[in-house]
Amino acid sequence: MPGARIEVLPNDCPAGERSLLVDTDHVFAAATFLRDDLQLRLDYCSNVSGVDWPDAEITTKTKVKKIVDGVEKEVEEVKKTVRPGFLEVVYHLYSMELKHGPVVLRQRTANRAEEVPAVSLTPLWRGCEFQEREVYDLYGIRLGGHPDLRRILMWDEFKGFPMRRDYVSPDDFEYEPTPHDEVLELAKKHYPPEAKA
């Protein structure tokens, strides 16, 4: 696949399960290869997930040698960079024929805009159809090539994508006798404590 950006992402967890990140232009070709290659034969897509990565500030500390008051010293420099947010679709692939797996395949969108495009893998694995609809419904990733991309859990008239980190649910708080945590905050906002006489 010429021009494909393929990356193996490490995983810090004890299982250390790594995943394959492919850019959206080539993910379909890569997935076709994973399915059809005789050594791999990943013929079963067990799970499709969406992940929302909001904008993140990354601080990196680097030691730089500098001359301070005529003496060379090592000074730590703190660099702050903003990593723009993106949305991710994760596929867990298994091989029923060769009994191995899972292979984790990821694709990332360019940004977190509404209806941001990505590529559907339903033409390769029919089992993805409903799960990709769910990803579209809750994250708002427009998966191009999907045969029937509609909302599946929320109703058609619904606005917004509730699983995004910045989703604000409608403010329909109602009185609760024993509020706590987040609900307590809401309760304070809606029913301010009466001024003590």
Binding site: W155, F158, P162, S169, P170, D172
Partner: protein
Amino acid sequence: MIDEGLRSELQKQGVYTTTLEELYNWGRANSVWPLTFGLACCAIEMMAASMARFDLARFGAEVFRPSPRQADLMIVAGTVTKKMAPLVVRLFNQMPEPKYVIAMGACAISGGPFKQGYNVLKGIDRYIPVDVAIPGCPPRPEALIHAIMTLQEKILNQKLTGPDRPRHLNADVPGEFPVPAYGEHDLEPSSNPGVWQPPAIKR
């Protein structure tokens, strides 16, 4: 009305007296047919209640009808999502009077653990009149049986005439409940004020 003492005296002699109201209510109370209709895990308890171990048939309520046209009782067993709520109200409208509702479990009463969620209705009593509410998550089959017994008691005490006669005998009271529409974030309207009012806050 016949005197209770005279009535039991007559019964000892083999003469049975009754009123139309009593006969009517007795018949209705002992043949409450629920609608086959489950929404979540509470439905599993409802099925258990109708099976041999708990045997709902002892109370005449074992005939789960697959059509709302033949049902008298709607057991709202489980979480009512905002997507499902209009369909529940429509099913209730399709049931012939006299009809009753049991809200089974914390979710059907108030939204339960999902109350603060964006997609769950905070209690089915917002749209349809609930006769008996069973708390629990999920309630035991015994609790459902108790709810049916409570409902039977309620039916037996209903008056056929007078100002507090039930809905199906009162032409002035609407028998149909408006079905909410899907809005952009919530159902519209978010409750039926004729059935439900927000609780008054006690400080």
